[in-house]
């Protein structure tokens, strides 16, 4: 047994989040850690990696009890963690980040050549094109993730803990990452892999441990356990139908939103689409294909150099999000921590921030605000298991529900949802899918931007696919399948890509 946790308990104040949890990691295995948001996964791995101390219980490395006082001590023992939220110094270069805190030196001076060589080698192993000298700030999120992984593998790593490593990666990058994991496993590295994506876990895990509400509910070999069984164990109930049935779309359903010939400098080249009443229009494509840029240009959040937006057939000028709100268009951003929620603000103020004027006459009516907040808690099933005062203290799934509550406070007719289930547990996903269904049943229209193929296929009436800033096609009916979407997303099929690529 390489790394073991014995009867770990951990409390924050009066709130206990881990109850007598055991975990065993063997050399050369991929061990999946599963659980809903708030189940205590992150707390457990933080204890293993020395970021937190257990309230009681012990951590054993090679059978010897360890008392890590910091992550640095754990790393010195070869226990390295890759964070869910990237922990990189933005202004430093990739190589400087990779060797941050353990710079190679020649005498008193930095040995830049050696560090660059090793960084280059590590990045090459990950099959990325990242230049070691590139500033981290200028890299895409998935490239930053690769730097983070390179940082871990350049150490003499024995236990690698990965917290949701694929949340921001494209399909191809995920493939490369899995190959790398396989190589590390052969080298005898123990890998603790946290993910919500059961499909991935089925693919790579040797053993699996499931947590629910801070308790260990299952642990054992992956072989013989099905996805459905694991999902049930995580949630503690049956998940009958992952995707609700599609709302029937009337043949004469009017177009409620239309974008014509939108051009966003450096991101989108001439894209047009229509959205009908009661419809779910999916947007597929790889990260960076211009989907978010297109939508945010429609909403007035980004500048566009050409294009027209029509609402119910009438041309409208949306200069900023307030104009979009007046048109009863709501937007749920993909970056809930960076753009969605004021993390250090209390929950009530977050919910009412978008539609604060409804609670003003002219001073803010705190009582009505509180009522609206309580209703939102009920309606969106926001679970305040902990006495959370600020949005930062909520788990990812609850943050997403809080953001949903905020966005829905304007009572919109068109709801644009960007990556609604990124980093979210199965139970909450299920709820969000049903919520989308409910919206369309009530006559709202939904635009769904997602990198999860299953979501697009399971929910959309039509799927618009983008590739390198070009809207390559809009798929309907039978065309909506994984193979077809990939063809359009990679530019093999579709219009306009060739001229753009070779012209």
């Amino acid at each position: 047994m390489l790394l073991s946790a014995r009867q770990i308990c951990r409390s924050f104040g009066e709130n206990q989040v881990l109850f007598d949890v055991d975990l065993d990691l063997q050399a050369g295995e991929v061990h999946a850690l599963l659980g809903e948001n708030g189940a205590g996964k992150s707390t457990l791995v933080k204890i293993l990696a020395g970021y937190l101390r257990p309230t009681s219980g012990e951590v054993l490395l090679n059978g010897k009890q360890q008392h890590y006082r910091s992550s640095g001590e754990a790393e010195a023992d070869g226990v390295v963690m890759i964070h869910q939220e990237l922990a990189l110094a933005e202004q430093l270069s990739a190589e400087e980040n990779i060797f941050l805190g353990r710079e190679l030196r020649r005498g008193p001076f930095l040995d830049r050549c050696a560090m660059r060589e090793q960084s280059r080698a590590a990045l090459a192993e990950l099959e990325t094109h990242v230049d070691p000298r590139a500033r981290v700030k200028d890299l895409s999120t998935s490239d930053q993730q690769m730097v983070e992984i390179a940082k871990a593998i350049t150490r003499d790593v024995r236990v690698l803990i990965m917290d949701e490593p694929t949340a921001t990666l494209t399909e191809n990058e995920v493939k490369v990452l899995f190959e790398l994991i396989a190589r590390l496993r052969q080298r005898g590295v123990a890998i603790l892999y946290i993910s919500h994506k059961l499909r991935e876990i089925e693919q790579i895990a040797d053993r699996v441990t499931v947590l629910r509400d801070g308790h260990l509910v299952d642990s054992g070999p992956m072989a013989g356990r099905s996805k459905e069984e694991l999902a049930r164990l995580m949630v503690g109930r049956e998940i009958d139908e992952m995707y609700p049935p599609r709302t029937h779309l009337a043949a004469d359903a009017p177009v409620v939103l239309e974008a014509r010939d939108m051009v966003v400098p450096g991101a989108v080249k001439q894209a047009s689409f229509t959205l009908r009443r009661g419809e779910v229009l999916g947007f597929g494509g790889i990260v960076g294909a211009g989907r978010t840029a297109l939508i945010e240009a429609v909403l007035g959040l980004r500048g566009k150099s050409a294009g027209q937006v029509l609402r119910n057939g009438q041309p409208v000028l949306l200069k900023n999000l307030r104009d979009a709100v007046h048109q009863r268009i709501a937007y749920l951003t993909e970056d809930r921590k960076g753009k969605g929620l004021v993390l250090n603000m209390d929950l009530r103020s977050n919910v009412t921030l978008l539609n604060l004027r409804a609670h003003c006459h002219p001073l803010i009516d705190r009582r009505r605000e509180e009522q609206a907040y309580q209703q939102a808690i009920q309606r969106f099933d926001i679970r305040l298991r902990t006495a959370a005062r600020t949005a930062a203290e909520l788990s990812g799934g609850n943050q997403q529900k809080l953001l949903l509550a905020k966005v829905m406070s304007i009572d919109p007719e068109v709801v644009i949802i960007n990556e609604p289930t990124r980093g979210i547990d199965v139970g909450t996903k299920h709820q969000i899918y049903h919520f989308i269904h409910e919206l369309t049943e009530a006559g709202c229209s939904v635009i769904l931007i997602s990198s999860e193929m299953g979501e697009l296929i399971g929910l959309s009436h039509r799927v618009a696919v983008m590739c390198a800033g070009v809207l390559t096609g809009v798929l309907e009916g039978e065309q909506i399948n994984e193979h077809e979407i990939m063809q359009y997303a990679s530019g093999i099929k579709g219009v306009g890509v060739d001229e753009q690529r070779y012209g």
């Binding site: 924050f12 104040g13 509400d213 949630v235 503690g236 109930r237 959040l301 900023n320 999000l321 307030r322 979009a324 709100v325 937007y331 951003t333 970056d335 960076g338 753009k339 969605g340 929620l341 004021v342 993390l343 250090n344 603000m345 103020s349 921030l353 978008l354 604060l356 004027r357 003003c360 002219p362 001073l363 803010i364 705190r366 808690i377 009920q378 309606r379 969106f380 099933d381 679970r383 305040l384 298991r385 006495a387 005062r389 203290e393 529900k401 905020k406 139970g427 299920h430 709820q431 049903h434 919520f435 269904h437 409910e438 919206l439 049943e441 009530a442």
Partner: protein, 345 residues
């Protein structure tokens, strides 16, 4: 459509229990400045019983009004994530222009109420414009507030020196007689500057805590991107905070001018730092996102009180005023940070 999400909660364990986290740390954060003020006042009484004299207290509060009023404006700017270093120079500039204007109006309107009112109006307008310039250059030019207001600070400071031709601008004696009560007069036993201070504080409190403008200041100071994605006109709100700051500076200047009846290049030197210090002592975060008006009021009074106490004792030289203030600022912030750390999970 209000049901599906709620229907799914089969395992809703102890949900919606909003137990408030209790603890000493929270109290310290809210009441810290008030406790510190009390301790300081107690110290004052022990050192010299004259401290509690009505004259002394009144005098002290009156003096703290200038910095206090400016600091209330600064609370908005800082809460919204900005900074205004130009307030001291702005005050001097406004005072200079006001004096020149009133002196020249004497010929036309005589040394009467009209002259003073026109001077006051001009002062408010000037403050509003100066704040507008700071705000527009910061938001539209996308330049850090520190740099913009450092620039305007230099500009206003040199302008007043230029207007005074390197010397001092003096208010016409006749006007001064009419204008005098604004600083020296009192109503119900409380001086006018203290009334103004109190009024500004109450309005500021309502504005910050009970209006959209205030809520938006918190949101912008915490995270501008989130504010933008919450359909808030970020640039407009930020510019408004600077304009509010300008009006506060103008108000402070209006009650300052009759005190000495003059303005020079040395007027209002270091007021910007005293104002920022008052804001910080009061528990507002310098990086924005969290602001408290009553804290600022207490901070401003504390700064004046330190000087006052040193005046009443021989134990510490009066020249060490800055040292004591400096120590108090650092200790105050340290205590607040320590309590932040405790409440964080």
């Amino acid at each position: 459509m209000s049901s599906v999400m709620a229907n799914n909660k089969t395992t809703n364990k102890a949900a919606n229990t909003t137990t408030r986290p209790k603890g000493f740390s929270i109290d310290l954060k809210t009441w810290g400045p008030f406790i510190a003020l009390l301790v300081l006042a107690l110290l004052g009484v022990l050192i010299n019983p004259a401290f509690l004299g009505l004259d002394n207290l009144s005098n002290m509060l009156t003096r703290s009004a200038f910095i206090g009023i400016i600091a209330i404006g600064a609370t908005f700017v800082i809460t919204a994530g900005g900074l205004d270093l130009s307030v001291g120079a702005m005050a001097a500039f406004i005072a200079g222009v006001m004096i020149i204007l009133m002196n020249s109006l004497v010929e036309q309107f005589g040394a009467g109420l009209t002259t003073v009112l026109l001077g006051v109006g001009a002062s408010l307008l000037l403050g509003l414009c100066a704040g507008f310039i700071n705000g527009m250059v910061t938001t539209k030019g996308k330049i850090e507030a520190f740099i913009v207001t450092l620039g305007t600070m230099g500009i206003y400071r040199s302008l007043v020196t230029y207007l005074a031709d390197g010397g001092t601008l003096t208010l016409d004696w006749a006007v001064r007689d009419i204008y005098r009560p604004v600083y020296y007069g009192s109503f119900l036993g409380i001086t006018i500057p203290v009334w103004v201070f109190l009024a500004v504080a109450v309005i500021g409190y309502i504005l910050l805590n009970y209006t959209r403008f205030g809520r938006y200041c918190f949101a912008i100071g915490s995270n501008e991107k989130v504010a933008e994605y919450s359909a808030i006109h970020v640039d407009r709100i930020k510019t408004m905070t600077y304009m509010l700051q300008g009006v506060c500076v103008a108000l402070a200047t209006i009650i300052y001018v009759p005190r000495l009846g003059s303005a020079s290049g040395a007027t209002g030197v270091l007021w910007e730092l005293e104002a920022i210090a008052a804001v910080i002592i009061g528990g507002t975060m310098l990086k924005g996102g969290h602001g408290r008006i009553w804290g600022t009021v207490v901070g401003a009074i504390m700064l004046t009180m330190i000087g006052n106490i040193l005046n009443l004792t021989d134990a510490i030289s009066n020249y060490l005023n800055g040292t004591v203030q400096g120590i108090i600022i650092i200790v105050a912030v340290y205590l607040q940070r320590a309590s932040w750390r405790k409440t964080a999970p």
